[in-house]
Amino acid sequence: MMEKLIFGRYIPGDSFVHRLDPRTKLLGAISFIVIIFLANNWLTYGVLALFTLLAIYLSGIDRNFFVNGVRPLIWLILFTVVLQVLFTGGETVYVDWGPLVISKEGLINGVYIFVRFILIIFMSTLLTLTTMPLSLTDAIEFLLRPFAAMKMPVHEIALMLSIALRFVPTLMDETEKIMNAQRARGIDFGQGNVFEQMKSIVPLLIPLFVSSFNRAEELATAMEARGYKGGEGRSRYRQLLWTQKDTLVMVSFGLLAVMLYILKA
């Protein structure tokens, strides 16, 4: 659990995908999700599937991690696919039970939707498996920069992001300790119905709030004592580096979009 909160779902590695600039991966994943809605026939879905498999191959990450990413959603996905199959009408009907019809078009539609699910989840998983949350927030801060002109407090948002990410593991540790202390006093966490469960978190939340607010107070005092005055002219500890590889990847996403536009029905 601790590890999960420090790294999110990140798996350390040194592959082509791992080494890409986080901005490239973020922009790439965003454009993939836009591009996927262009697909509407076997050919286009095939091209997208190949593209995704290539990206997964280039990440060097075991494919089981991707399959595991789908697992929590699989029943919902299948449920949706079945609904789509049963309620999409069509010309070539195989089974007809009144309002429920299984047609060739319905089946094809079901398969398309299934493939789209899997591809979206795979690409999202690829992004989070190969990029640390901290790098992703750097990329997000960079992409937010234009909004600074609209008086959005971009620097403060970035500051809060890094402080929050820094303190998640600390608070996590603290939560474990408080939970153990309260268990020793006879509280059952995660037992009983929703009401009982909610009640049991009060003795957890109060000490957690107190300790977080104390930490915030100390941190803010320390920052002010050291002369922190906002973002003007501050240098950065982690630098983002855009290379030719990143340009190449962005171009390939552009080509993918063009290809799908040509191939779609």
Partner: protein
């Protein structure tokens, strides 16, 4: 906001993420019992907490979501939209309890955005997901009203932020 208030909000966000991570294994998808949603009530005590809560939602989705980009946009959108509803339908003259009830309803109503997200990303049936997400919000935030009022009686959230 002052530096100190940004830092307080950062810690509120960290707390949101921690609670999401520790207390609920089932937080994403159609069935949502995210205990951390009771933090939404912080905005009723002092609207400056909104920043921290929104950031908490953002980071939780970044960490734990299967469809991360959709969740980042729609999760944050849902929180902002619901706070918008709260601002429109509540006023300072109302009692805390009433404002928290309005807040709970706002989040339940606003969860159509999550249903819409699930429809767009995964074509889940809209009304079914709307119903289940809204019920999740109603239960968690509804139970959160007495809970947060009690915690507030010990900690005085608004005073802490303005100290």
């Amino acid at each position: 906001m002052k530096t100190k208030q940004w830092v307080y909000n950062a810690l509120v966000a960290a707390l949101y993420v921690t609670v999401t991570g520790v207390l609920t294994p089932i937080s994403f998808g159609v069935i949502q019992f995210r205990v951390a949603e009771i933090f939404n009530h912080l905005a009723v005590f002092n609207k400056k907490y909104i920043v921290g809560v929104v950031l908490g939602v953002f980071i939780s989705n970044l960490f734990f979501s299967q469809i991360v980009l959709f969740d980042l946009v729609f999760g944050v959108g849902h929180t902002l939209f619901s706070f918008g509803l709260l601002a429109i339908f509540s006023s300072k003259q109302m009692s805390l309890k009433l404002r928290m009830t309005i807040n709970t309803l706002s989040f339940a109503i606003g969860s159509f955005l999550i249903a819409w997200e699930l429809y767009l990303a995964l074509e889940f049936p809209f009304w079914l997901s709307y119903l289940s997400v809204a019920i999740g919000e109603l239960v968690v935030m509804g139970l959160g009203v007495p809970l947060m009022l009690y915690i507030n009686s010990k900690l005085h959230f608004s005073k802490i932020m303005e100290k």
